[in-house]
């Protein structure tokens, strides 16, 4: 009798737990979309947390060091989307590089980013001649002392 209660109780707990688990999953899944896929969603894509992936459109990066306001455009070749973010851009945030931006589309159609990741393959890429830190920051390194 006691055993039946224990087994029954465990069954109920497992069912409730499973229901909560998958309900929670449905609500908290963040889709990984390109600008084209996101724009295709229309108004359904507004205000929903999304990971936006694509390339930084050449010439689109504008960063105001004083206000820390960062604006750039993410493109997937077909469509593009303006992104606004607060804070310094990752170092080497250069034109054409792959990015993943987490955030949501605001009411003005601008993507408000909460986090910004530079997509780099695990096979890391060596800097090109002239891009090396000791070349780029030569004056800084030679003039100053820690």
């Amino acid at each position: 009798m006691k055993r039946a209660w224990v087994v029954g109780g465990a069954g109920v707990i497992v069912l409730v737990f499973g229901w909560l688990l998958f309900g929670g999953l449905e609500k908290n899944v963040v889709f990984f979309l390109t600008p084209k896929e996101l724009l295709a969603k229309g108004s359904a894509g507004v205000g929903v947390p999304v990971r936006l992936g694509g390339q930084v459109k050449p010439g689109s990066v504008k960063w105001d060091a004083k206000t820390l306001d960062l604006r750039f455009t993410v493109t997937d070749g077909a469509r593009e989307m303006s992104v606004r973010s607060a804070g310094a851009p990752p170092q080497m945030f250069r034109d054409g590089m792959g990015v993943i931006v987490e955030g949501r589309v605001g009411s003005g159609g601008v993507f408000e980013a909460t986090s910004l990741m530079v997509k780099h393959s695990n096979e890391y890429r060596a800097p090109k001649p002239g891009e090396e830190a000791h070349e780029k920051y030569k004056t800084l390194i030679e003039r100053s002392t820690p």
Binding site: F17, L33, N122
Partner: protein
């Protein structure tokens, strides 16, 4: 040359472990117990051979022998010696080699310590370990061979992954993780051995394997904390846990191992949960292999996933084999293993342990589902998704808060059953701790229900665990007239398992306190400063002094020096956040500077700078009580160490102790240092 030697050693090792594993059941079935020497010989020989290969790899790394493929992939003449040595575990093939070596070490230790034990438990356990070793030997012979010849021999290599050569904790976190992960094969080996030798119905094997699980659990706990610390010190975002799949991979077996350490006590005391405990052994091992698959197969993109290749299929096949084999073993013997014991009253320690196991399993399943869901969704529905932090925080955090509460209830309740009046008398006093800490949290500005509950429960459980010490010490003080320090030492010494457990509880509570406080009361601001300008965050002020650069053999360093100002504006210290540019990567590695005190951390990260040094953008984060997380981790390890030096329960019959644990202390202590 050295590559060829090591490669041949690994091939012979594959042959040896396969032979040793196959010969064991033949020897036992045919009654030729003297053949078991071959099994044990295979274990020792394997350890010798894998040691030769591992030492060869270290020698090749240190001598920059770029004719060895692994050295050509991760070595560099400009990398400092320490980071050259630890690049042994810095990429896929080397880490599999290191894994195989740790496994060989554990297997040799198990046989060395337990080979005199009569019966078939230890031979079958050795066979299981040899079978696991065979899997890694296959990996090393094929898809993860680190000793491939390279021609033509390059003059220099790229050096290790930049993130991994930036901090000293990379010399600490991976070996601890391997010692924890691989050590969990030993309890599995004992579980399989117990079933095959028909000893699963006794508790002996559980007592044997408990100690190995505790040691591995201690290593894994330390590894998780060290990994959090590394992430905090290197990644520059001021956090230590993001429910990243690789973090989850280390957390999953920790949860089932923790559940095992509690359920095995119920098995010993009440003869219950035997089948469940056995399944926890199996689950823990499978989760370690799953974790290795997730982090090593390249299926997830992260600092841990090195390359994509065929190795993932080997892991999937191995997981499938382990699951099928253990299912057949456990299911085929379940009626013999099933328990005879009875639940005590509702208000008893075993009830709390049941709840503890229920919640730990629930957290494990939540984290498992959240971790695997993106993989399943992509495979089945072709959509790329990620499961965000909110899922884990909403689903796992409540259960973890409940676990904190149970940490206060369990120790206060006796085994068997008790009256409600007695339970009330034991459970009410710690409420003071809950009220005090909860009130402090509310006054400090905590508004989230779970944060306030977490603070209150930490206070409750801390009081409850400390009260256990107090009651024990007072009893000794009154009965034997011992001084308080003597009473404390003898109390712990008299029942190291129990009080080691309470020490680990205190450590876990400190970690919980640090996590709750630093996530609830975190303040951050980012600003671009000219030299002389200040930035104030939550009462902490920094002033930019200058931006500088420096050349080092393997990297260029750009740094900013900032003065930390006291309340009166006087300089009380400096911080130097930096960006390290390694030659091989166009991405700099952020190197934040952290100023710690018991009250919390001032975390300063350099996020951008003008290339002429005219200004610097810094992010300043104030996080209360973070150092308590690291300190709590050390206390957890201390608890595990105290528990390991347990010599068997004093009330137990001496004969069972002699059989169960033939003086394993010295050898285990050796693996601890």
């Amino acid at each position: 040359m050295i590559g060829l030697l090591a490669h041949n050693a690994l091939l012979v090792s594959l042959f040896t472990v396969a032979l040793g594993a196959v010969i064991t059941p033949i020897a036992i079935r045919s009654g030729r117990r003297d053949w078991l020497q071959l099994t044990y010989g295979a274990v020792y020989t394997n350890f010798l051979l894998v040691s030769i290969a591992t030492v060869s790899m270290v020698v090749a790394l240190v001598t920059h022998d770029f004719s060895v493929s692994y050295v050509a992939a991760v070595g560099s003449r400009s990398t400092p010696l320490l980071f050259t040595i630890i690049s042994l575990w810095g990429a896929l093939e080397g880490s599999i080699l290191f894994w195989a070596w740790v496994l060989a070490l554990y297997a040799a230790a198990v046989v060395w310590i337990h080979h005199r034990r009569p019966g078939n438990l230890v031979p079958y356990a050795a066979m299981t370990l040899l079978a696991v070793a065979a899997f890694f030997a296959v990996l090393l012979a094929g898809p993860a061979n680190p000793f491939l010849p390279v021609s033509p021999v390059p003059a220099d290599g790229p050096g290790p992954n930049t993130l991994l050569q930036n901090h000293i904790l990379m010399a600490v976190h991976p070996p601890l993780l391997y010692l924890g992960y691989v050590g969990m094969s030993v309890p599995l080996a004992f579980a399989v051995g117990a079933i095959l030798s028909n000893e699963a119905a006794s508790n002996d094997w559980a007592i044997l394997s408990r100690r190995w699980m505790l040691a591995s659990w201690g290593f894994l706990s330390a590894a998780i904390i060290a990994g959090m610390w590394w992430s905090y010190e290197v990644l520059g975002w001021g956090g230590y846990w993001a429910w990243d799949p690789v973090e989850n991979a280390s957390f999953l077996p920790w949860l089932t191992a923790t559940a095992y350490l509690h359920s095995v006590m119920v098995q010993e005391r009440r003869n219950m949960l035997r089948l469940w405990t056995l399944n926890l052994c199996v689950a823990t091992f499978v989760l370690t292999i799953l974790g290795t698959f997730l982090t090593r197969s390249g299926i997830l993109s992260s600092v841990h996933a090195f390359t994509t290749g065929t190795i993932g299929y080997y892991f999937l096949a191995f997981i499938a084999i382990v699951l099928v084999a253990t299912l057949v073993l456990v299911a085929g013997n379940s009626d013999r293993i099933r328990t005879r014991g009875n639940l005590g009253g509702a208000a008893s320690r075993e009830t709390v342990f049941l709840l503890n196991n229920l919640f730990l399993t629930a957290v494990m399943l939540t984290v498992l589902v959240g971790t695997l869901y993106p993989l399943v969704a992509e495979a089945m529905r072709g959509v790329k998704v990620s499961v965000g932090e909110p899922f884990f925080n909403r689903m796992a955090v409540p259960a973890m808060v409940a676990l904190i509460f149970l940490m206060g209830v369990g120790p206060a309740l006796p085994w068997g059953s008790t009256t409600w009046a007695n339970a009330r008398q034991r459970l009410l006093p710690p409420t003071i701790g809950a009220v005090v800490l909860g009130a402090i949290a509310v006054i400090a500005g905590a508004r989230s229900v779970y944060a306030i509950l977490a603070f209150a429960f930490v206070g409750y459980a801390a009081m409850a665990n400390l009260r256990e010490y107090w009651i024990g010490m007072r009893a000794r003080h009154r009965a034997h007239g011992e001084g308080w320090p003597t009473a404390l030492a003898r109390l712990i010494g008299g029942n190291r398992r129990r009080y080691g457990g309470y020490v680990a509880h205190i450590g876990a509570l400190l970690v919980a306190l640090g996590i709750t406080a630093s996530s609830t009361f975190r303040t951050e601001r980012e600003a671009t400063l000219l030299p002389g300008e200040t930035l104030t965050v939550a009462g902490h002020t920094v002033r930019l002094k200058n931006v500088w650069g420096r050349e080092e053999p393997q990297r260029s360093v750009i740094g900013a020096t900032l003065d930390v100002l006291g309340k009166d504006g006087a300089v009380i210290g400096t911080v130097q956040p930096r960006m390290n540019y390694y030659r091989v990567s166009d991405q700099p590695v952020p190197t934040p500077d952290v100023r710690s005190s018991p009250r919390g951390d001032l975390y300063v990260n350099l996020t951008a700078f003008e290339s002429n040094g005219a200004n610097a953008t810094v992010k300043v984060i104030v996080e209360p009580l973070v150092p308590w997380i690291w300190f709590g981790g050390m206390v957890i390890v201390l608890g595990a160490v105290i528990g390991l030096f347990h010599r068997g329960r004093r009330t137990a019959a001496p004969s069972t102790i002699a059989v169960a644990a033939p003086e394993p202390e010295p050898a285990l202590a050796g693996t601890d240092s």
